[in-house]
Assembly symmetry: C2
Homo-oligomer: 380 residues x 2
Amino acid sequence: MLIEGGRIAQTGPDLPSRPGVPEEDCGGAILLPGLVEAHTHLDKSLWGMGWRPHQAGPSLRDKIDTERRLRQEWNIDPHRQSTRQALLSLGHGSTAIRSHVDVDTETGLAGIEGVARTRSELAGLVDIEIVAFPQSGLMTRPGTLELLDAALRGPADVVGGLDPCGMDADPKGQLDAVFALAEKHGKPIDIHLHEPGELGAFSMEMIIERTCALGMQGRVTVSHAFCLGMPDRDRARALVAQLAEAQIHIATVATPFRPVPLAEDLRAAGVTLCAGSDGIRDTWGPYGNADMLERAMLLGQRNNMRADSDVEHALWCCSWGGAKVMGLEDYGLETGCQADLVLVEAETVAHAVVAHPPRKLVLKAGRIVAREGRSLREAP
Amino acid sequence: MLIEGGRIAQTGPDLPSRPGVPEEDCGGAILLPGLVEAHTHLDKSLWGMGWRPHQAGPSLRDKIDTERRLRQEWNIDPHRQSTRQALLSLGHGSTAIRSHVDVDTETGLAGIEGVARTRSELAGLVDIEIVAFPQSGLMTRPGTLELLDAALRGPADVVGGLDPCGMDADPKGQLDAVFALAEKHGKPIDIHLHEPGELGAFSMEMIIERTCALGMQGRVTVSHAFCLGMPDRDRARALVAQLAEAQIHIATVATPFRPVPLAEDLRAAGVTLCAGSDGIRDTWGPYGNADMLERAMLLGQRNNMRADSDVEHALWCCSWGGAKVMGLEDYGLETGCQADLVLVEAETVAHAVVAHPPRKLVLKAGRIVAREGRSLREAP
C-alpha cells in the first residue's frame, strides 16, 4: 500500500519503493481500517487514577447521584481523563470516538470544555465527536436545556438524550426539546434508551415519529435500545422495521446482563449497528479497556456469532458501522480513503477478532500514532 | 511466604532468607491460589492447528455431527491437542482442570486415552480430572454405555451425562444408567444440562431426586444449567433451594447468548458455583483462550457484579469454587496448603480480575511452571 497526502494512494502486490517515502514492513499482518469507538464517556473514566472501590448502589438514579458526588470528591478532571482514555483507545486502534459528555446544572459545561480541549490537543491523532448528554435529566432539572443549547452553540456536535420516560417522566416534553435543539443547530441526535420492554418501545416509537416528521432520517441514533431485546421477538422485529424506514441507527455495547438488540435482526432489516465500550472503569462500574477489537469479540459472543462471516460482521459494527453513524467521510480501505489504519497479527479477520492481540501499528491519516498496543503520545 | 516440600510453610512480613532456598522477588504483585478450570473439553481444541473457518450449523445435533466428521478429516489428536490446551491454561495460571472427554462408538476410548497420556506427561505441572462424556448420546447410541463403563474402570474420574431429554429422549433411562455407573465405580457425576426452561427443570428434578436417594450429596455437578436462567425467577429459586439441599454444584461458562444461572441466587442459597472456559477454539465455535482470570471478569460482567466484593466472588468461583467441586485437598493460601500459586500485577484482587494482565509467575506444588503468561514446558 502506498500512502500519499494522508490517503491510500495505491494498493497491490509488488509496489515499487519511492525515494524519500519511508517504508514499514507489515510482516504479513492483517490491515484493518481504524476502529470506531461509537459509544463511550470520555469525561468520566478513572483510568490512571489508581484503583477505587466501587461505591454506587444498583439503581440508575443511585449511579447518577454517586457520580455527581464523586466527580467533586475525587477531582475527576474531564480534560485529563478524556486525554488518558482517548490515548488508550488510540493504542488499541480506535481512530474515531463518539463520546457522550455530561451536561448538568452542577457540572455545567466543564465536561464539554474539557473534552473539547482534549479534542483540539489530539487533533491529527484521533477524531473526537462530542454528544451533549443530559445525564442527570433534562425536564426534571431546570437550566439543563439552556446548557445543552450553549454546548451546541459551542463545541458539541450531537444532541444527547436519556430515557424520556424513565428519567424525565415526560417523554413528550423531553423529545420535543431534544428534536427542537437538533433542528435549531442542524445537528444529529443520539439518545440513551435503557427503558426495557414496552416502555422502551413506547419511547422508541415517539423517537421514530419525530425523526420522520422532521426529516431527520439517517441522523438519529438510539444507544443501548434494550427494549429491542424484549422476549416478544415479533414485536421487536416490527420495531426494527420502523427503525429501518426512519434510517435510525443503533449503538450497542453488547451489555452482558441485559436483553440487547439482536445484531442478526438489525442486519436483516438494514439497520446500521455500531458499537462502543460505554464507560471505562468509572464510578458506574469497574470494567472496560477501550479495545474495540475485543468489543467485536464480545459482540460476536453476545450474539452467538460463530461462522467467520458473522464474526467479520461483528468487526464491521466496530469499524464501518461506527464510521457510518459518525458520518466519517472517506472511511475504509479503498484507494482515496483517509489512511486511518490498524495492523493486527492474525491469520484471518475472524482470527483477529477472536484473539485481538496488541495492535502492531496504528496510523492516523497516514502518520504512525501507535505501536505494539500503545499510543506514541504519552498520556498525562 | 516460605514454601517447603511443595507446601506453604510460613507467611508474614520480613521472613528471613534461608540458605539454599531460592528466592523470588514478587515486586508487590498479588498472590492468588492456582486457578481452577472446572469445565472444558481438552480433547477437541484446534489450538495450534492454524485458523479453520467455522463449519457447523446452529443446532446442537449439527455441531455434534460436524465435530465427529472433522475429528477424522482434520486429525484432531486428543493427546496433542489436550497437551496444547493444558499448557495454555497453565500459562494463564490454571493448576487444575476438569475436562469432559468424548466417548462414543466412533471415537471409542481414544479421547480418554489421549487425555490420560497428557495427564501423566504433565503430572506435577497441572492436575487433570477426566469426565467420561457421552457427547453423541448414551441411550440412542448402543455400545456407549459399555464404553463409559470401560473408561471408568480405566483413567476416567467422573461419570458424564448430557441432556437426558434433549439428547436421548429417555431421561429415566439415561439418568438411571449414569447414576448406576457412579455407584458401581464409586465416582462423582457431572452432567451437561443445556435444556432450557421447564424441560431443564424437569431433568434437574430427576437429577436431584437420584442424588438424594443414592446418598450422592456433594458429588454431583450440573454444568450450564440454563434452565436456572428461566424468566420465572421464583421457580428458579425454588430449584436452587433443592440443589442446595442435595449439595449439587453448578458449573457455568457465563454463556453470553443464553439465560444462565444467577450467581447471586446460587450464592445466597449456598450452592457452589464453579466456572470454566468450555471449548477453546474448536469445531463448536471460534472463541476462548483458557484464561480463568478473564473468565472471572466475564462471569462478573454477565452477572452485573460491580462492587469489589462481588468481583472477588467471581474470582472465588474460578478458584476456590472449582477446587471444592473437584475435591482438591489442601487448596488455598493458608499455611499447609499445597503451593499452587499465581502472581498477578494489580492493585487489588478486583483490579486483577478486571485487568487480567499476563500472569507474572505460576507455581505448581512450589515449583515455577510458568512466567509472563507462558508455561515453561513448550507445547508440541
